[in-house]
């Protein structure tokens, strides 16, 4: 048997799960999808004394969509979020990025919130939460708190969740109107860890000129930071943005690591290419969104 011994708990309510967490604290781990935890245990890199399996808490499997964004609960599987009509409509970049999360068989089981708490710098979901300015709802027997992305990710594989806290849900806010976003990545094989991934969001003003340009990267830093490239392009017409300059600026801002899969220089090169590519697509989407918003206003006036 690959995983080391542990005591198994299968709570039937959230309260019961929180009690168990409070009781076992640093010795316990939550098991949701297990697509990262079980490999880590199989390799004996982790050996929690208590495993608290939340898979029976079906009330946590929902995905809720409203005007302002998407709330993904703790047990919602990646595949469910990816296929959700409301997610595709309100936060399309989230569904776009989910297609890059591992392979379909992993997405059928792995959870989006679990991926956030795992806080892997090579994972797509942390970068999405950061780029969209999202947050995580954490609950313990002491109460509930909301952690914005910039506070949630503390270091590689490290989140700000306390040992007694369960990440109940994640909130991905919808981008503003007249905006467009795009995610793309480059891996040796679809579904493998990205050598570099880029999420980009562009917002246009009333006159169709660029108001803001922000980016977040996968596999280039310890935590998913959001880079603001607005000063470089603000005021430019959407079809006149200097994409070469955007790519170069992106490369200057990041400090990618070197490893077995790619050198730092190669990653920087990929970031340049992806920044250019995703900005071009995001601009196109923003223009379409802006003309859609304009049409809607015209209709209202008629």
């Amino acid at each position: 048997m690959k995983p080391p011994k542990f005591t198994y708990h299968a709570p039937r309510t959230v309260e019961e799960a929180l009690q168990l967490l409070a009781e076992h604290s640093t010795d316990a781990k939550i098991l949701a999808g297990g697509q990262s935890l079980l490999p880590v245990m199989a390799m004996r890199l982790a050996a929690p004394a208590h495993l608290i399996d939340i898979n029976r808490l079906e009330e946590l499997s929902g995905v809720e969509v409203d005007e302002d964004g998407v709330t993904v609960q703790a047990l919602a599987r990646h595949a469910h979020v990816e296929a959700h009509e409301g997610v595709r409509r309100r936060v399309p970049i989230l569904a776009e990025a989910l297609r890059w999360v591992a392979h379909p068989a992993i997405r059928n089981r792995g959870t989006t919130v679990g991926s956030l708490t795992h806080a892997d710098p090579s994972a797509e979901m942390p970068a999405m939460l950061a780029l969209l300015g999202g947050s995580v709802v954490a609950r313990s027997t002491e109460g509930e708190r909301v952690l914005p992305a910039e506070e949630f990710f503390v270091g590689p594989m490290e989140s700000a969740l306390r040992y007694d806290e369960l990440a109940l849900a994640a909130r991905f806010p919808a981008p503003p109107t007249r905006s467009g976003a795009c995610f793309d990545e480059i891996a040796r094989r679809h579904g493998d860890y990205a050598m570099c991934g880029t999420g980009t969001m562009v917002t246009l003003n009333d006159a169709g000129r660029v108001e803001s340009l922000t980016m977040s990267f996968v596999s280039v830093g310890d935590v998913p930071e959001v880079y603001d490239l607005s000063p470089l392009v603000a005021g430019a017409a959407a079809d006149e943005v200097d994409l070469t300059a955007v790519g170069e600026r992106a490369a200057e801002m990041i400090d990618p690591p070197a490893d077995l899969h790619a050198t730092a220089d190669f990653r920087r090169h990929l970031a340049t290419v992806l920044a250019r590519r995703t900005t071009r697509t995001a601009l196109g989407r923003a223009r379409r969104a802006a003309s859609g918003a304009q049409e809607l206003r015209d209709e209202e006036q008629v």
Partner: protein, 172 residues
């Protein structure tokens, strides 16, 4: 610390089972050791190779990344459950025979389950989609060309068989 065990009920290929298993036993080991269904092969045991892929409530998942206790009460299909009710090979199995989609056969059960679910979702895949569908499964023999061909052929057979059934129904 003594080994903690738990009772689990599983329905595998339509047959209900009740077993007392160690809580840390992964589903692939439960299938092979406790249910003696050795068609599911265990490769890397950390979710990379895809050999152990089974269908959990109809969806492909890695059985090495699931604890047996977690899936208590669920429906599982293994490679042993893919053949059709009349004993014919399933479209995917037949396609692997037709296209020489395997050599040593170790990775094959994982491919068969993965592709069975894929062609149900996407009955007319392009070659690119077929390639992406098997990107999570490793094969060290074939170089994948014949596996991709098998995916396309499997979809074709499935379409042929479903039109046969429709014809039978309409001639009645």
């Amino acid at each position: 610390m003594s080994e903690q065990t738990a009772e689990v009920r599983l329905r595998v290929n339509g047959i209900p089972y009740l077993r007392e298993i160690p809580v840390r036993r992964t589903l692939c080991d439960v299938l092979r050791m406790d249910l003696e269904l050795t068609g599911t092969h265990v490769g890397c045991e950390h979710g990379v190779c895809g050999a152990c892929t089974i269908l959990l409530d109809g969806e492909p998942v890695r059985s090495c990344l699931l604890l047996g206790v977690t899936v208590d009460g669920h429906d599982i299909t293994t490679v042993e459950g893919l053949t059709e009710d009349d004993g014919r090979l399933s479209p995917v199995q037949q396609a692997f025979v037709d296209c020489h989609g395997l050599q040593c056969g170790f990775c094959t059960p994982g491919f068969l389950t993965t592709i069975s679910s894929f062609i149900e979702e996407n009955p007319e895949p392009t070659e690119e989609e077929a390639r992406e569908a098997v990107s999570g499964n490793l094969c060290r023999c074939t170089g994948y060309q014949n596996i991709v061909a098998s995916v396309l052929r499997a979809a074709e057979i499935a379409r042929e068989r479903s039109s046969e059934t429709t014809e039978e129904v309409s001639t009645r």
